[in-house]
């Protein structure tokens, strides 16, 4: 749950506040720019491994801050802001960028200097941010990124003329290859902490008058004319069309070829998650179990060993196993995004999504939802329309996330016979798994459809997607992103599962009997299970499953370890034959299907609820979502247990 913290920020350290500033502190330089201008690539080139991810206080917009040590030993903090087209604060990203630049985020120091990075191949389009940024009156460097591409395609910019016209320094770079970074570093070395007590111009981004059409139009037209003039003075010759991009587009956006490639990409992603990840997951499992055995062997047989090995190791290990899957998914998403294909995929998906009440941009969050709903919900921030965004994040937890897999795997192995269904093509087990995935999609689409016709009644929304030229993703950026994700995932797994394991273990130790720990049915945990049994009896679940359902409120996969603990099975994982046998004894086949359906629908995930609260700004939506999904899960299980 690292994502929900504000790291390294002292609350109340309000921007521009006290005069008692450390004059020797590292200056803060913010990176601003439109999406797809290479901001993050430049950031990674400058900071490398010396970066950390945090969140802006109060919102879950991620903040990447990295410290750059320059040749002369000087240090500068560089902040990567979200990519924006403007500062109207229509999206969360825009709002955060605006607030940071204006120094209005409590605890985040207003930048002492700015780097405005633009894609030089599309100069006219990209300079719309120049005017508002320069009005901040902070030392600014304009970075003309992708200038190697500009030159190779026959484009031209006279830097000196543009610099003089705008009154800023200019650097030419190719962030992907690392060209021109020295001039950026030279700018960084000249950055000085601004003295907040010094009276300067008030920091406000020139706002476009909103709410009235003519003044707004005039303001944009003025900005546009200013850009035209700058581009003319700079002698900008636009690059020739990128034949490479055109050729790829004529396949990827082809009438029939486009959807086929789209399908192939999705199949490839799934195949990799479920097939290629297996050996890696086996490897992780081996590491976890062998290290657990080592710890068990090295410790005396006390309550501490039982807590550590049976509780913590088993619990945390059952989650860490998913790391390879999540990394593979993020690797694919990273490649698709950075190469420019994701924008095309969104265009292809838009019509389909539109019918369900969503829009093309929802494709990325929903696809990410197959790994984990938490990053998926964060990915929905790019959706401009608030209703579309809410509908998207409301249905995202229906996508079959990887935490459901161990539960599905255990129950399917225990209750579905290993028989062929359609000749050699599909086994019954695979069919059930596929059915559960389909159930998630149907619930998501149906819910989106209902939402957009009731609570989030659609105003006519628009879909606008910029299609950047295709580019080779930077391996460094991909690698750093994966590293980021692993850290976030492991810390989250560590904290939640760790806490659940300890609470469970303690609840099983009391009330004490003369023989020590009580029978599980007599323990505090057992009492909890019995207390909720009446509610779940109609579904065919007994008190043991009840305890599993309660613990899985923290995270779905916890139920596997919990059932293992309750049944006293030594090695509880989804392949555990012993656990399968005792489950067959206590659950009817219908109830097992019911349990599967329950897990397909219900929102048993603390992290998702927490991230929903942050993203929607209150408890209303997460509460509604939790209630709705629980109800659907209960009804689904109720029906399933009577059918099967």
């Amino acid at each position: 749950m690292d994502q929900f913290e504000s790291v390294g920020i002292t609350p109340g350290d309000r921007a521009g506040g006290t005069a008692l500033e450390d004059p020797d502190r590292a200056p803060v330089v913010a990176l601003v720019g439109p999406p797809n201008s290479g901001k993050t690539t430049l950031f990674n080139q400058l900071t490398g491994l010396r970066q950390k991810v945090a969140n802006y206080p109060g919102v879950t917009v991620e903040k990447h801050v990295g410290r750059v040590r320059l040749l002369d030993g000087k240090e500068v903090d560089v902040v990567d802001l979200p990519g924006v087209h403007g500062f109207s604060a229509r999206t969360l990203d825009e709002k955060v960028t605006r607030d940071v630049l204006e120094g209005r985020v409590a605890g985040v120091r207003p930048p002492d200097a700015l780097i405005l990075i633009v894609d030089a191949t599309r100069l006219e389009n990209q300079l719309m941010l120049v005017e508002p940024v320069l009005e901040l009156d902070v030392p600014t460097l304009l970075v003309l990124n992708m200038s190697d591409e500009l030159e190779s395609r026959g484009g031209r910019i006279v830097d000196a003329a543009l610099a003089e016209h705008l009154g800023v320094e200019i650097a030419r770079t190719s962030a992907r290859t690392g060209q021109g970074l020295d001039s950026v570093r030279a700018f960084l070395s000249r950055a000085r902490p601004l003295d907040p007590s010094e009276p300067g111009s008030p920091r406000t981004l020139s706002n476009v008058p909103r709410g009235q059409s003519l003044p707004m139009l005039d303001a944009f037209a003025a900005r546009r004319n200013m850009v035209r003039e700058a581009v003319r003075v700079a002698g900008f010759v636009p690059p020739g069309p990128s034949r490479f991009s055109e050729r790829l587009d004529s396949l990827f956006l082809h009438r029939w070829g486009g959807p086929l490639v789209f399908l192939a990409v999705i199949i490839l992603v799934f195949e990799s998650i479920f097939t290629w990840a297996v050996p890696l997951m086996d490897g992780v499992e081996f590491l976890v179990s062998s290290s657990g055995n080592w710890v068990a062997g090295a410790m005396p047989d006390t309550w501490l060993r039982s807590l550590l090995v049976d509780g913590v190791w088993a619990g945390v290990g059952s989650v860490v196993v998913f790391l390879p899957q999540i990394l593979i998914l993020f690797l694919f998403l990273g490649i698709l995004e950075d190469s420019g294909y994701m924008a095309r995929a969104a265009v292809i998906a838009d019509r389909m999504m539109y019918r369900a009440g969503l829009q093309g941009r929802a494709f990325l969050p929903l696809l990410s939802g197959y790994a984990c709903a938490v990053p998926a919900i964060l990915a929905a921030r790019t959706i401009e329309d608030d209703r579309d965004r809410l509908a998207t994040i409301f249905v995202t937890p229906f996508m079959t996330c990887s935490a459901r897999l161990p539960v599905y795997a255990l129950l399917i192995a225990a209750f579905i016979p290993d028989e062929q269904l359609l000749g050699p093509f599909m086994s019954k087990r695979a069919a059930v798994l596929l059915g559960l995935y389909a159930l998630g999609i149907i619930a998501a689409v149906g819910t989106a459809f209902l939402l957009k016709r009731t609570l989030l009644k659609a105003q006519p929304s628009s879909f606008l997607m910029e299609l950047p030229p295709y580019r080779l993703p930077s391996p460094k950026t991909l690698a750093l992103r994966l590293l980021d994700r692993s850290k976030v995932f492991l810390r989250r797994a560590g904290r939640i599962i760790f806490a659940v394991a300890i609470v469970l273990w303690v609840l099983m130790q009391f009330p004490r009997t003369e023989l020590g720990a009580p029978d599980i049915e007599e323990s505090a945990l057992g009492m909890i299970g019995h207390a909720i049994e009446p509610a779940i009896a109609p579904l065919g679940f007994d008190w043991r499953i009840g305890i599993g359902l309660v613990t899985s409120l923290a995270a779905r996969e916890v139920i596997v370890g919990t059932l293992g603990t309750i049944y006293g099975v030594e090695t509880a994982d989804e392949e555990s034959v012993a656990l399968q046998e005792v489950l067959r004894r206590d659950l009817s086949p219908g109830a097992a299907i019911g349990l599967l359906v329950f897990f397909a629908f219900a929102l048993q995930c603390m992290s998702t609820v927490a991230v929903m609260r942050r993203e929607t700004g209150g408890w209303k939506w997460p509460a509604a979502q939790f209630g709705y999904m629980l109800m659907l899960g209960y009804l689904g299980a109720f029906v399933a247990v009577r059918i099967f």
């Binding site: 707004m216 139009l217 587009d249 009438r255 019509r351 105003q459 997607m465 299609l467």
Partner: protein
């Protein structure tokens, strides 16, 4: 849905008269046009304005997506729209085509 759209103010640069009848959605591929006015409520028009789609700018439809939505080129960038949006953009055909180049 429609009544809501009409209740909101609409972005128009100038009285367009009969000229506003030609819409971007009607324009064949590779025919460059000039944007005359945007017939959309403000909040839907703003993202267009931010990306430089302002009255007076030049737009050229370059591709049709598999779902039949237009992809246009503006200032050297490709932008995908929905046809519903394209049908709200009033345009004028530029008769003097190969002028600047």
């Amino acid at each position: 849905m429609d009544s809501m759209a009409r209740a909101l103010p609409v972005v128009k640069s100038a009285p367009t008269g009969g000229l506003g009848s030609l819409r971007l959605g009607d324009i064949p591929l590779r025919q460059e046009v000039e944007l005359v006015s945007i017939d959309l409520p403000l909040e839907l028009a703003e993202p267009l304005l931010e990306r430089g789609l302002l009255p007076g700018c030049r737009i050229c439809p370059v591709r049709i997506s598999p779902s039949g939505d237009p992809i246009v080129s503006i200032d050297g960038s490709l932008l995908a729209l929905r046809r519903e949006t394209a049908d709200c953009l009033c345009v004028r055909i530029l008769s003097h085509l190969q002028d600047a180049d």
